[in-house]
Subunit: 558 residues, 2 copies
Amino acid sequence: MANYSIGVDFGTESGRAMIVDVADGREVATAVYPYSNRVIDEKLPIAGKEIVLEPDWALQDPEDYIRVFQIAVPGALKQAGIDPADVIGVGIDFTACTILPTKADGTPLCVLPSYREHPHAWVKLWKHHAAQPEADQINETARQMGEPWLDRYGRKISSEWFFSKTLQIVNDAPEIYAAADRILEAADWVVWQLTGLETRNSCTAGYKAIWSKSEGFPSKEYFGALNPLLANVVEEKLGTVVTPIGQRAGGLTEQAAAWTGLKPGTAVAIGNVDAHVAVPAATVTEPGRMVMIMGTSTCDMVLGKEEHTVPGICGYVDDGIIPGFFGYEAGQSCVGDHFAWFVENCVPAEYVRDASARGLDIHALLEEKAARLKVGESGLLALDWWNGNRSVLVDVDLTGLVMGMTLATRPEEIYRALIEATAYGKRIIIEAFQNNGVPIHELVACGGLPEKNKLLMQIYADVIGLPIKLSASKQTPALGSAMFGAVAAGSAAGGYDSIYAAAQKMARLKDEMYFPNPENQKVYEQLYAEYVLLHDYFGRGENNVMKRLKSIKANAKK
Amino acid sequence: MANYSIGVDFGTESGRAMIVDVADGREVATAVYPYSNRVIDEKLPIAGKEIVLEPDWALQDPEDYIRVFQIAVPGALKQAGIDPADVIGVGIDFTACTILPTKADGTPLCVLPSYREHPHAWVKLWKHHAAQPEADQINETARQMGEPWLDRYGRKISSEWFFSKTLQIVNDAPEIYAAADRILEAADWVVWQLTGLETRNSCTAGYKAIWSKSEGFPSKEYFGALNPLLANVVEEKLGTVVTPIGQRAGGLTEQAAAWTGLKPGTAVAIGNVDAHVAVPAATVTEPGRMVMIMGTSTCDMVLGKEEHTVPGICGYVDDGIIPGFFGYEAGQSCVGDHFAWFVENCVPAEYVRDASARGLDIHALLEEKAARLKVGESGLLALDWWNGNRSVLVDVDLTGLVMGMTLATRPEEIYRALIEATAYGKRIIIEAFQNNGVPIHELVACGGLPEKNKLLMQIYADVIGLPIKLSASKQTPALGSAMFGAVAAGSAAGGYDSIYAAAQKMARLKDEMYFPNPENQKVYEQLYAEYVLLHDYFGRGENNVMKRLKSIKANAKK
């Protein structure tokens, strides 16, 4: 008799439930629920009321998350045609940092009539970008007070993270802050809804909420310096118990069993994050092999046995990805988005007609044309900063650059230069790890891009000079969550006792691999040297023209 | 009874004859003859023979020039319906440097059966770019020998110019060089065909053939150092008599009268160059007012009473534009071409559909969208070097750059940034003149672009901080030639005794003017400072990345 685990992956636009065979990781069935209220970035979804949001806000409706359990999970079960009793565990992963204020019993403030019309009562989605002033204050205060944890995060806390968003509530809506008994990650909130138990996972606590296993959260003095109301935020709103990922959070409540069609008591794993949960699903449970989760932006994850400060990475967390290792995270903020921008803004009508006549996607046509170019033939070089630079410069005010154009320059040459720029940016990240005590000798790619663009993968191998393997699953986060669900169940229930054991059986790579081509590598060495020169000139303060242009732009828009 | 003059303007693709009323410059009739053999850049136009040209070659057929006299001039006369006896003068202007080898009687070598199949026997058009090795040798030898004339040309002789092209004949085809009794500008050759007299005009001699009124041509020692065969090139192939522009070359021969339908003996002016002849046609016959001839590339002309070395300009020639003044020339190699490249390569299908639905030219649509942007709002900055930089860096190996892109950047923002980049480049040229003793207090624009793009003109006024007037004529070169034709006739025959007098009556400006907008100027001051910083960083050797990319590109194409 087979055992199954369900991974539930909460994305930006929808939630996905995937049923996986615990024995071999076979993906048996998948169902998706697109959130009815999607991303709320214009006005609150309250009938008959016009409550308009400020620019840069991005909210969600927590009831949409419950509907994923009510609709996607039963849908997947029905599709699979299996006995719910054979499902031994459930794991979830979520976008992060996505947080909400709740009452002591977990009721979101935004479902209560008295708070429903207040934007700060709703879920703040990861891409809510309105807390930049708060992030600036958090960083400035930390620098002034010499806070030791700043080094763990490349010396910069993002406006997307937990305390930036929380401080915005304190500053803008102290009454909401006061009304909130708890403020927590949506990842932990959905686990609470399944199990009836409030837990805090080590992954979001570490990467987004300035927690570490050895030092805990920042001090009361520090929080008090930000705002006296915030001094006791940990004790009052978070709690000090943080559970390592890989643990069992609890069992399904009767209510959650009714929502999902699963058995009450089914094991539920501690909450996790979409990118991080993909690491074991890409077979990586040991140091030396970096996982690249490549989509609109890219997350890079690597494990280390030792603690090292790596300048410019997003952060590192003990037990953050795989128990027993430091999980290092870096990222590039503009990868798939980069190519999408190009396709939307810079592709001539002739190419669109050509692609359409041949039944090709426009990306596929550009890839075909770009693949015919020899390395260096375009004479172009780009800096991949259309959305700022996450690692290793940690600077949202940097902008894109392309150079080397002549009157003979063609669109596919620019397209290729943009791909190459992201590869150079990746190599800078890898060298930052390698030069600071975190070895990397192999890359494993997952996410949407590697499937779609072989040229991109070959360019990455050639630029970086390392072999690249590909995750076999197209849904690595959901698979990873299912793996953690099987671990929560444990071997006695037909699951596994560790994520290592689960990865051995449930995670797989494709046979296909990309190896560096020595001829290409030679030319890319030269081009990479030019990239580094420009990267440092524009990115490290020698010529801050990009920031000055942004400031001129901000003034022009006033 | 009215008097008329005919201006014949020999362009790259066609020749144009325009009949002008001498009294007031009214343009009475125009006829165009498109050259039957156009630009010869693939194979010689010899039936049944396949004589293929090397890359970068660009030739023409001198018989096409004669057909302009035989077809366009009678065509214009017929259209005007005037008595040919009322035409008192003919002036011509030509592209330059466009040269051909002839026998002593002016017969082009390429019409003789024994040389017809030899590419070097044909006319080398201005854009024949195959003589770069010769130009390099000319410059290197001049630097080694400390030739004083190098300063007059921004310390660089172009591959397009007279001795680069002549040395190519010497090097590649000494038998053609030996067979040529004369080598001359096509401008002077067509005047020879009209008058039966060989003359050499001071404009092409000065700007293209290293001649100066006070110092003549370079020395025999210098030419001998280039190649012993070239030592006596001046005496053997050119002659030492150079006639200032503004003079009468001679009268129409019986044969030329038969071609054109004009009276034998009609006054013919000394030959001239299309860009230079436009200056008086744009009303400029005095210092301080720079003429910008704006098309695919741009020529900038300004007169000075004194001789000054201005680093990075194309050259200055005594009597080169208007007798009695030093004529200073600078230029930008990529202006209209820049925008054409953008439209061809970077405009999305949606814009093309939109323009077509509204019956707009795509440039007009982009201008409309770009005009809605405030100065600095795009956050973009570009270097206008898609075709290298003519002035003031004199470097064909520089390439284009755009920076400041974000995921929200739109095509019209890039389009506007390209326009702005050419305006910053123009300001650099103007400041080079101003800082080196050649004052400029007003700009006069002519050519195709100013007519078409009001936004571009306003941006130029705002960036440069000077008022811009527009030439009233859409055909300034043909008008200028007609003015010189009237001067060749002289006042006794109903014309004028000087180009100043002719300009007073025959040249006009539009009522429309562009004035700098002080609000815009303030922001452009900041943006220009950023442009200068990048211009010097990439253009003056601090980071030669553009040259290194070009060299990587050249290797990749091998």
